[in-house]
């Protein structure tokens, strides 16, 4: 049973981690909690739904190969969500650069309410159901049952994280993101277009969130417009658990949160599922005030 | 006869991760003197201030004020005991007026409580009026009385430094620690600060200064300590320090050789 819980935890933890990365990336460059990020994730799930529903209308070569089709779905959903991220920043945050710290937070919340209701109005309040064609048959192995989809999700989330890690640490644009997050003023002075970097950051975060959205949609088979709220809070908690602004931290935090929840709910009472996560968070922060991997950025006197 | 020691450190050490920022520094500040601490960048001067004031608790060693151990005290306790400081990176309260900035320094001398504040008892009004009067005096002392109702964020760099000194003085400290008070100032302004520091000492306050400006250091210090790599490498009167080989090599360079 333990292994089963662990596996469940890792699956859901992977999606927390992918969303948490978006929070962390944006926090890094703007020192801002992008509260509308959960909504992007939700929109990603909807886009996944819309695209997958189009399967019958697809050219035969796509219909024939499910993995290829899914890849296309992920790609398109992620791209459109990147655009959402791009516009979100442009509309809600860019005009507020340099405003008091809480101001963009409120416009973020406004955006979150807006997007949620927008999707509700246009897609309906009902749950949308993914066509259940993909990898749902449970496989049992030594008392642990899992679906091929579950494995795919775990591996692709890890792959996506690796991709991001490479992007952040090995590419020029990635280094520019890191530079901007330490000192945007200076970044501009060495010729980095800070606006571009910020946009790219939002797009990268949204890209990952969209992938998480499609995965979760496939995994649970049903989505609705409130998906972003819970997913957002959980992922945000994960980001803080790992140390907000810290990329590996978000990954660790996401997986950890998923596992804690799965074990807590499994071995104790599922009624208090969310409580475990927050208790662990408080406990971690009491001993490591900047999260698990966060650096204590003491102001130098 | 030399004055008695007011503030002493015994084998004070501070480590950050693996880095020893301060490695067993023992020094003594005498009552009513102007003491300077100099040393290369990263020598541990600011860290010394931080360790003394409890901002950054020392890894080992002791700090004593009037012979009393204050090593484990928090910054606010140290301040209440009479050690005030200014910061290397300016830290005025930007969204408060100058008068309010200084009044924060008067906080520890205020006597009225919460109930008095809510009910606006005479006790509260008198206390408030008394402290405001004192705060204005202090602003006048550093030459900022005219601007008392401006927000601190609108001050120039130099004015901010003055405000910080006034705010620290508001504590009525027995020891004042100044971290690079004239950095970024031109000679005229430096001269003004030097006079100010002398005046402060006249009022019976002991002053400890960290500074890279040799004109100021050599001009007003009674004594100088030199730190390098977290250790004391020299101590003495200005002319002695200026002639010290180790100090020249590590810190002063050719330009400040004793030839002057």
């Amino acid at each position: 049973m333990f292994l089963q819980h662990l596996l469940n935890g890792i699956t859901i933890g992977g999606s927390y981690a992918l969303i948490a990365l978006g929070y962390t990336l944006v926090y890094g460059v703007l020192k801002l909690i992008n509260f509308a990020h959960g909504e992007i994730y939700m929109i990603g799930a909807y886009l996944g739904f819309i695209l997958i529903s189009l399967l019958p209308a697809m050219p035969p070569f796509l219909q024939g190969s499910l993995p290829l089709f899914l890849l296309v779905v992920f790609g398109i959903a992620a791209m459109i969500c990147s655009l959402y991220g791009f516009y979100l920043e442009k509309i809600c945050y860019r005009p507020l650069r340099g405003a008091p710290k809480l101001t963009p937070l409120i416009s973020a919340l406004g955006a979150s309410i807006f997007l949620q209701n927008f999707v509700m109005i246009s897609m309906g309040a009902k749950d949308r159901i993914f066509p259940q064609t993909i990898g749902m048959r449970a496989i049992s192995l030594g008392g642990v049952s899992f679906t091929p989809l579950q494995l795919t999700i775990i591996f692709s989330s890890i792959a996506l994280m690796a991709l991001l890690y490479w992007f952040i640490n090995r590419t020029r644009l990635g280094t520019a993101i890191r530079a901007t997050s330490t000192d945007p003023f200076m970044a501009a002075l060495v010729g980095i277009n800070v606006d571009t970097v910020i946009s790219v950051t939002f797009m990268a975060g949204s890209f990952l969130a969209a992938c998480a959205g499609v995965m979760i949609g496939l995994y649970y088979g049903s989505i609705n417009f409130t998906l972003g709220y819970l997913g957002g809070i959980k992922a945000f908690t994960a980001a803080v658990l790992g140390g907000i602004g810290n990329v590996p931290g978000a990954m660790v935090g996401g997986f950890l949160l998923g596992i804690i929840e799965a074990l807590g709910a499994g071995y104790f009472s599922s009624e208090y599922k969310d409580v475990y996560a927050f208790f662990i968070l408080i406990a971690v922060l009491v001993f490591r005030p900047a999260g698990l991997l966060g650096k204590r950025s003491d102001e130098r006197a | 006869m030399t004055a008695p020691d007011i503030l002493t450190t015994e084998a004070l050490s501070v480590t950050f991760g693996g880095v020893r920022a301060l490695a067993g520094v023992s020094l003594a500040v005498r009552e009513r003197e102007i003491l300077s601490i100099i040393g290369p960048n990263g020598a541990g001067k600011t860290t010394l201030f931080n360790a003394v004031t409890g901002t950054c608790p020392p890894t080992s060693g002791r700090v004593r004020l009037h012979g009393r151990d204050i090593t484990a005290k928090t910054p606010d306790e140290v301040a209440r005991l009479g050690v005030a400081r200014s910061f290397q990176n300016l830290k005025p309260f930007a969204e408060m007026t100058l008068l309010e900035n200084v009044l924060i320094g008067r906080e520890i001398h205020m006597t009225s409580g919460m109930a008095a504040a809510i009910l606006r008892l005479p006790l509260f009004r008198e206390d408030e009026a008394r402290q405001k009067r004192r705060a204005r005096e202090l602003l006048a002392f550093v030459g900022l009385e005219q601007r008392r109702d401006h927000l601190a964020r609108n001050l120039t760099y130099g004015e901010r430094k003055m405000l910080e000194i006034a705010r620290a003085l508001a504590l009525e400290p027995s020891v004042l620690l100044l971290d690079e008070p004239v950095a970024g100032m031109n000679p005229t302004e430096t001269g003004f600060v030097m006079e100010l520091v002398k005046n402060i000492r006249e009022q019976g306050i002991t002053v400890v200064i960290i500074e890279h400006d040799m004109k100021m250091v050599m001009g007003i210090s009674d004594r100088i300590y030199v730190l390098d790599h977290g250790e004391l490498i020299a101590e003495g009167l200005p002319h002695e320090v200026r002639a010290n080989r180790a100090v020249i090599e590590a810190y002063l360079g050719g330009g400040h050789a004793p030839a002057h």
Binding site: M1, Q4, H5, N8, T11, I12, N117, M120, G124, A125, K126, D127, I129, Q132, M136, A138, S140, S145, T147, I216, Y220, G221, S222, I223, N224, F225, T226, L227, Y229, L230, E261, A262, L263, G264, A265, G266, S269, S270, E271, K273, D274 | -
Partner: protein
């Protein structure tokens, strides 16, 4: 706001529920049901020679909003209210209606507390949790002859109340191997289902609605669970089948009898479908509730809540749901709960 002169020209009835937010679907099902009734009456010339105006009220499933909506209805001169959906909204709102003397008929609020308050103006056309809980338990014990039952509920007034009634009525011969609450709105129930599976029950009871129900069933089967599920009116929806997919095959639900078999409901189903698509499970209840109010206005001969209430209490109504009469508390006299089962991806009444 309308001018005084126009007030008398129409008769206003309110329809309150969650029109926005996560379960807005219940709100719109209800609203459409009421709309249909109002349109039909208006087509026939209204009541007492006046047109009927439907005033929607969005309580967002939030008690504070529900009270605001109720007050707004009172101020606007609404004479009767269909709603609210959630017990946590209906209960505080009913106090406002009570003070103003406006009759309220809930189409879906199954919590006993609503009518236990002793307000004379509060009614419901649906069954109660205790009736439903008993129906489900009887079925499980007598027909399915289960020995080990796992119970899950969604920690809402409805879900938990239903689950507790079910448990109470199981009797001593049945062992409850698990009693778990889950968080609504969540998507991941794998910990609970893993736990339930290892408890090895013959039957899993779920008190809650289809959104979570579908996911639970699906995830339970995905971790290799085999026991069938049983739920109540909350899971009785086409949506359950879509969310749960093939995993829902064999799931039971307690609900009213098949409206398709009641001749009176046939017309409703056709008309509704024409206008708003497939009716939701509560559409017909809302439709009947509205009809009861309108008929009572007709009988009372005045659009005045105080006069309408006694008429509702005394009504002997034959509508889409069949025969309805209210008892002293305001509940329906006979509770016609029957059991349904999913067969070939459709709910079929178990004979």
């Amino acid at each position: 706001t309308k001018k005084e002169g126009q007030e008398g020209a129409v008769i206003k009835i309110g329809a309150a529920g969650q029109l926005t937010g996560p379960e807005a679907v219940f709100g719109s099902d209800m609203l459409n049901g009421v709309k249909l009734a109002v349109e039909e009456w208006n087509a026939k010339g209204g009541v007492l020679g006046k047109k009927i105006e439907l005033v929607p009220g969005d309580d967002q499933a939030e008690p504070r909003q529900a009270v605001a909506v109720a007050n707004k209805f009172v101020t606007e001169g609404v004479v009767g209210v269909v709603g609210h959906f959630n017990s946590s909204c209906s209960i505080p709102a009913s106090e406002v209606y009570h003070k103003a003397g406006i009759p309220q008929i809930s189409q879906a609020c199954t919590n006993p507390k609503l009518t236990d308050q002793g307000f004379d103006n509060v009614f419901r056309v649906c069954g109660l949790d205790d009736q439903q809980g008993k129906a489900a338990a009887d079925f499980a014990v007598q027909k399915l002859k289960v020995k080990r039952v796992a119970i899950i509920h969604d920690k809402t007034t409805y879900g938990q109340g239903f689950a507790e009634e079910f448990k109470k009525n199981l009797g001593t011969g049945v062992e409850v191997v698990a009693f778990e609450g889950i968080a609504k709105g969540e998507k991941d129930y794998s910990p609970v289902v893993t736990k339930i599976k290892s408890a090895n029950p013959d039957l899993v009871f779920f008190g809650g609605i289809f959104t979570e129900g579908g996911l639970l069933i699906r995830q339970y089967k995905a971790v290799g669970g085999t026991a069938p599920f049983i739920g109540g009116d909350g899971i009785m929806s086409e949506e359950l089948l879509k969310i749960g997919g093939p995993a829902t095959e064999g799931t039971y639900a307690t609900f009213g009898p098949d409206t398709k078999e009641i001749p009176s409901a046939k017309g409703f189903n056709e008309n509704y479908r024409k206008k708003y698509g497939e009716p939701g499970v509560y559409s017909v209840y809302a439709y009947d509730a509205a009809n009861i109010i309108l008929q009572s206005i007709q009988k009372a001969g005045a659009a005045d809540g105080k006069k309408i209430t006694p008429e509702i209490r005394a009504i002997d109504y034959n509508g889409a749901l069949g025969h309805i009469q209210f008892d002293a508390k305001g509940d329906v006299k006979e509770s016609p709960y029957v059991v349904w089962k999913v067969e070939n991806n459709k709910f079929k009444q178990v004979k």
